[in-house]
């Protein structure tokens, strides 16, 4: 079947399937994605600046990922994505288990290990791999609320995901721009190439 680009909320997702339920392996980054929290803002603003410090969450993630391409088609698919997204925002999974589920309360409510999750002012979307297998296409959801007490954090998804267990992998889904203007195809091994891409989150545009 044809390699199919993921979509969520009217935007592209850098996650490709075979047109059915299997995730194409080339879109899963080599090793872990590097992620960096950046906050390049002045500690104290100038008097004439009217920045709404309380309403805008300024911290952004900067993400780096490498993709191993083994066929000309995979290369073209990723290059098309890079070309299409030069000036567009898109979603990218963190490919990291960002929420460790302790109890599945319902198809939308999950208790997670204490992680000091702080969602006030921050909008988070997630990719839910319900069976815990990264090669099965995920469900994309928005976290609508969170509740924090002394021992447990609870997140609530905006719509149901069936078959969730404590093995379910939930990755943050970042709304990003391409940070790099380069698309470099380098040799990685026999019949393999590697492409490294950089992304920067746009938290403010994450609705």
């Amino acid at each position: 079947m044809a390699i199919t680009r993921g979509t969520y909320g009217g935007r592209a997702v850098l996650l490709y399937t075979d047109g059915s339920t299997s995730v194409e392996s080339f879109c899963i980054p080599l090793a872990a994605m590097s992620r960096k929290i950046i906050n390049n803002y002045q500690l104290v603003g100038y008097a004439w600046e009217t920045r709404a410090h309380d309403s805008i969450k300024k911290t952004q993630y900067e993400l780096d990922a490498s993709y191993v391409l083994q066929t000309g088609e995979e290369r073209k698919v990723l290059m098309d994505f890079w070309s299409d997204m030069t000036f567009a925002k898109f979603y990218i999974p963190s490919w990291k288990k960002d929420y460790n589920i302790t109890t599945v309360n319902s198809t939308t409510s999950l208790d997670i290990s204490r992680s000091y999750i702080e969602l006030t002012g921050v909008t988070r979307h997630v990719a839910v791999f319900a069976d815990g297998n990264l090669t099965t296409a995920p469900s994309y959801r928005k976290i609508t609320s969170s509740n924090v007490d002394a021992t447990t954090d609870r997140i609530v998804l905006d719509s149901a995901v069936t078959s969730m267990t404590t093995s379910t992998v939930i990755c943050n889904l970042f709304l990003v721009n391409m940070l790099s203007d380069d698309f470099t195809i380098s040799n990685f091994g026999k019949n393999k190439t590697v492409v490294s891409l950089n992304f920067i989150e746009d938290q403010r545009a994450t609705l």
Binding site: R75, K76, M79, T86
Partner: protein, 207 residues
């Protein structure tokens, strides 16, 4: 003189970098702005440009002299630089007056269709913008001095029609590779060892 660089580079160290020209600015409120730097009337930046890094190890007086002269030509004037990730093979005996050549997978990166290479007629492979800087290089697999650069008229999924017939005769297994019009820039290094072995590292930048 309008010639290609018909030597096959080493796999190690070979890369193709595609890049666009734009600026990125972060506003005070955290919004990231991407600005396209290209002039509306400046067609040369309407598509991603290509830099090719390649290493060559050349043996023999004839090859050493040839590559040295080609490097000088590439520095002083320009040279048609092959994009080896898009290499395909000729799948028939191709000779004048035929202008349509059948192609097949090169096995370098499984280019099972010309759509997966940079061959798109007079169009660029992944944005379908007019791209006069790209042509096709035909090269004998047994003698790399048997080669020529021809303009592309149109492209089908497994064949390429050229605007003129070839001068030489090519057989199944010979190479057909897209070439870009490039100059060799300053990081080009040429090292001659005992007259019979040359190690060359080049960076070819598209004109």
């Amino acid at each position: 003189m309008s010639v290609a660089l018909p030597f096959i580079p080493l796999l190690e160290g070979y890369s193709e970098k595609y890049f666009v020209v734009r600026s990125m600015q972060t506003c005070d409120d955290g919004q990231v702005l991407f600005t396209n730097l290209q002039d509306v009337d400046d067609n040369t930046l309407d598509w991603a440009k290509v830099d090719v890094r390649a290493k060559y190890s050349v043996l023999g007086e004839k090859d050493c002299a040839a590559i040295e002269n080609l490097l000088i030509e590439g520095k002083d004037n320009f040279i048609w630089m092959p994009l080896w990730w898009s290499q395909m093979q000729i799948d028939e005996t191709f000779t004048s007056p035929d202008v349509t050549v059948d192609v097949t997978d090169s096995s370098i990166l499984n280019n099972t269709s010309t759509a997966h290479t940079q061959f798109q007629g007079t169009e660029w492979g992944y944005t379908n913008e007019p791209r006069p800087n790209i042509r096709a290089m035909l090269m004998s697999a047994s003698d790399h001095y048997v080669n020529e650069v021809l303009e592309i008229s149109s492209v089908a999924s497994t064949s390429i029609t050229l605007t003129s017939a070839p001068t030489n005769t090519y057989v199944s297994g010979d190479f057909i590779t897209p070439v870009i019009k490039a100059v060799l820039n300053r990081s080009t290094v040429f090292r001659n060892r005992h007259q019979i072995k040359c190690d060359v590292t080049i960076l070819a930048s598209e004109l």
